[in-house]
């Protein structure tokens, strides 16, 4: 237990360091990007006088140097205040809170779906390499992994929403329906296509890795011995294969948190899904530093939690790792 607490403390310390580093790096990127927030908001073709531009800059604290701006931001964050989004004219925290929920629902659905489906398909492929199914699946995976998320999204949208009319064309709630009347069913119904888009593109890596790992395991001597003793292929896979490929699959699945976040930026834009991804792209394009930093911090936190969970689960799945902690 003590060991565990020590581990947790170490991890938390690293998280804080990481958050600081990422925020500093993001801030440097934002201020050195060519986007001038005042111009992007006022619109340079808008005939606004220099006095008004100065006023806007002063109002949003953009008239100060980058070091001062970052200092103020950092001080506020330590007090739990993430600042105000220029774009939405609301506290960043409330923008994040509102959008994180939608994004998390989307990402977790896609994550679970791609994990289960990818693992299953990978096992089938790996058990019978070079079968027709394996060949089709592999080709399919190669195509998918070289396909941009937004294109898949657009394709699904055209086929399933426009032509077949099975799913809505986007958004998280039905068009024109008052919030009070929106049911959980409505929300799930609107989640399916974007989640499918996100999971389809995430599947290929998991399938290919799982397949390769299982093949390695099945080619090992103890499996050959087991088969020789008369164990069927699927029994061997179940008894020896799954255990041995669980760890790499798990690592991969939790490490995919970062890709998931990146993919959701694109998928959310295609489906007009109001999550963190669309907020991030908007903040980046319009130079809303506070909001962008907020989203960056959130994503760091998200990815970190993913990796931490994987690390903790290693111990659960493989007692050797748990034991290892006691004898450093």
């Amino acid at each position: 237990m003590k060991q565990f607490l020590k581990y947790l403390a170490g991890s938390s310390f690293r998280l804080v360091l990481l958050l600081f580093g990422v925020s500093l790096f993001s801030f440097i990127l934002v201020v050195s990007s060519p986007v001038d927030p005042v111009s992007s908001f006022v619109g340079i073709e808008n005939g606004v006088s220099d006095e008004q531009r100065a006023l806007v800059a002063a109002y949003w604290g953009l008239d100060q140097g980058p070091v001062e701006r970052y200092g103020i931001w950092l001080k506020n964050v330590l007090h739990g205040n993430l600042g105000t989004s220029m774009l939405f004219r609301r506290p960043v925290r409330s923008v994040l809170a509102e959008r994180a929920l939608a994004s998390l629902a989307l990402m977790l659905t896609a994550w679970v779906f791609s994990g289960i489906l990818g693992f299953t398909l990978g096992v089938i492929c790996g058990a019978k390499p070079n079968s027709v199914f394996d060949k089709c699946m592999r080709t399919f995976c190669f195509i998918l992994s070289s396909t941009p998320v937004f294109w898949v999204g657009l394709l699904l949208l055209i086929v399933f929403a426009v032509n077949l009319g099975w799913f809505p064309i986007g958004f998280a709630t039905p068009i024109g329906k008052a919030a009070a009347d929106v049911t959980l069913g409505d929300r799930i119904y609107h989640l399916i296509l974007p989640a499918l888009t996100l999971s389809i593109t995430g599947i290929s890596g998991i399938v290919l890795h799982t397949r390769q790992k299982l093949m390695d395991v099945l080619n090992s001597e103890y499996i050959i011995f087991a088969r020789a003793r008369g164990e069927s292929l699927w029994t061997a896979v179940r008894r020896h294969g799954l255990r041995n490929i669980a760890l790499p699959a798990l690592t991969l699945q939790f490490a995919s948190f970062s890709e998931l976040f990146g993919g959701s930026v694109l998928a959310e834009n295609v489906f007009s899904y109001p999550g963190l991804g669309s907020a991030a792209s908007l903040a980046g394009i319009r130079g809303d530093a506070q909001l962008l930093l907020g989203v960056a911090l959130f994503s760091v936190f998200f990815v970190f939690i993913g990796n931490l969970t994987a690390n903790l689960l290693y111990g659960v799945f493989d007692p050797r790792i748990r034991e290892g902690g006691k004898h450093p």
Partner: protein, 532 residues
């Protein structure tokens, strides 16, 4: 070998499915109730920031929740709205507005002069998109009279009062931007930020009431707008001109005239280096003959066909369609021979036979940029470059990110978009105070200076009525002797048309000419939309 066959088949199938579905007609939906509308005019309207000085919503007065003291009518002239009229003092510094007495906000409270004063005081300090730096003070004289005092003569202030929506002093507070209370034709029913905005008619509105019970605005990605139109779930959807040749069953394409001009600045001063070490001016475009040859030698229609799918109207002036535009003395393009002749005469001759003219060792060649995030502008830059080649002028078109394009515009012309409801734009375009080589702004980026033009523009800013201001604005462009319309510091190409797919039978009323910005302008008369 086998593997690649399977892969090819799969890939082929995917492409087949996608193209088939794209070209196939949409599944026909059951006709929806005619007392509601679903509209997509870009993401700005779903921003959830409905203060009249918000970045997207209040811009150019495209308010549906608010009305202002004046309004801009279909002829882009101002006329009374919340105010019954106004007077301007002899020194041009004091504006006195008288209010209507029968106006109520959407929460049922009455509009008073206090609300007007409160609005302007709040707007001035809001750090928003409305420029009120010329406003010194505002006083309430009595219940229905307010007096504005300016710190300089500034006749475009009349326009400003047509753009700033009035908010209630009592109903304003934190959260107002998401729950606006105003005097406009609609009130907010629900906002799902970045998704949809649902509005319903404001029962207290004093003007034409909308026949629809509910109107929903959707935020749809430009790429999916056409697909959405095909799904039959939407009644009005903005599309890019690239899609203007498409057809959608049950909908028609509406092409709406704008003053949304595109053109390039042509630096009128020779090449030099400014304080920041940047190269500004040009030894090619500083020759008035080159500027004239370009203006008369290119074919604007050809450029529009190549760059914009034919959607747009050729234009050679900046203020096309606006009441302060001056078309004098007129200009005819596609005069290739005439353009070549004057270039030849001025000493621009192709000596080395490479198709590009030279004069005193200077090649008739310059770079232009189109902003990287706007395909239309880059397409225009490329089409212009193609079109100028036959004149022996080599224009090198590049795609540059917008902030950089603006910063370098005084040395490398960039594609500028205009189209403002304020005649202040005449000042922005031509006044010498913006002509400095160190200025970083697209205002007067050709660095044009002309004392006579400055005089007219100053007179325009000091005018007592809009009619008078328009007169000076027109003279600033051409007064019968000279001005920018003959000096040609810009190369204007086109007024872009705004394209929308609209449900058959739905009338969008009389649209006033749209300003800069595709999307929102179409809803400026939302309350007049109806099924015929």
């Amino acid at each position: 070998m086998k593997k690649s066959t399977v892969g090819g088949l799969l890939a082929g199938l995917l492409v087949l499915v996608s193209t088939q579905q794209l070209s196939a007609g949409a599944k026909q939906e059951a006709p929806r109730a005619k007392d509601t509308l679903v509209v997509s005019v870009g993401g700005g309207i779903t921003s959830g920031d409905y203060e009249p000085w918000g970045w997207d919503y209040g811009f150019e007065g495209m308010s549906i929740f608010h009305t202002a003291l004046l309004k801009i009518n279909v002829n882009v002239e101002t006329e009374p709205d919340l105010a019954t009229g106004f007077t301007i003092s002899d020194d041009g510094l004091v504006y006195t507005y008288t209010l209507r007495r029968d106006v109520k906000f959407s929460d049922g409270t009455s509009l008073t002069a206090e609300d007007v004063a409160f609005t302007y005081e709040t707007a001035k300090n809001a750090g928003g998109s409305v420029d009120l730096t010329m406003l010194k003070s505002i006083e309430v004289l009595d219940g229905d009279t307010v007096r504005f005092t300016l710190n300089k003569v500034f006749s475009p202030f009349i326009r400003t009062t047509a753009l700033v929506g009035i908010i209630p002093k009592k109903g304003y507070g934190p959260g107002y931007s998401r729950n606006p209370v105003g005097t406009g034709p609609f009130k907010l029913k629900q906002i799902d930020v970045s998704q949809q905005l649902i509005v319903e008619p404001n029962p207290y509105y004093y003007g034409i009431k909308s026949p629809f019970k509910q109107i929903t605005f959707l935020n749809i990605d430009e790429q999916t707008a056409l697909a959405t139109a095909r799904s039959g779930q939407i009644d009005v959807v903005m599309v890019n001109p690239e899609y203007a040749r498409e057809t959608v069953r049950g909908m028609r394409l509406e092409t709406i005239k704008t003053s949304d001009n595109r053109g390039f600045n042509l630096p009128v001063i020779p090449q030099t280096t400014n304080a920041a070490g940047q190269v500004v001016g040009s030894n090619v475009t500083s020759d008035p003959i080159v500027r004239r040859a370009l203006n008369i030698g290119i074919s604007r229609q050809e450029i529009i066909n190549n760059a914009l799918n034919g959607i747009g109207t050729p234009s050679w002036i900046r203020f096309e369609g606006l009441p302060w535009a001056n078309e004098e003395p007129g200009l005819k393009d596609s005069q290739v021979d005439e353009a070549r002749r004057i270039l030849q005469q001025a000493g621009w001759v192709d000596g080395d036979g490479d198709g590009i003219r030279e004069k005193n060792g200077v090649r008739c060649e310059f770079r232009i940029t189109g902003r990287a995030d706007d395909l239309q502008r880059y397409n225009l830059a490329v089409a212009l470059s193609e079109n100028a080649r036959k004149l022996g002028i080599n224009i090198i078109a590049e795609s540059t990110d917008w902030p950089q394009a603006q910063r370098s515009a005084r040395g490398i012309p960039t594609c500028i978009g205009t189209g403002s409801y304020s005649f202040y734009d005449v000042f922005t375009a031509f006044h010498s105070s913006l002509a400095g080589i160190d200025t970083v702004s697209l205002g007067n980026s050709p660095m044009y200076t002309n004392p006579a033009v400055d005089w007219y523009i100053d007179a325009m800013l000091g005018a007592k009525t809009e009619a008078e201001a328009f007169g000076f604005a027109k003279q600033a462009q051409y007064d019968g002797k000279g001005g920018p319309n003959v000096d040609l510091p810009y190369l204007w190409l086109v007024t872009i048309d705004h394209t929308y797919f609209v449900r058959d039978g739905l009338s969008l009323g009389v649209q006033r000419i749209h300003p800069h910005g595709h999307g929102m302008p179409v809803i400026q008369n939302l309350n007049e939309w109806k099924y015929q």
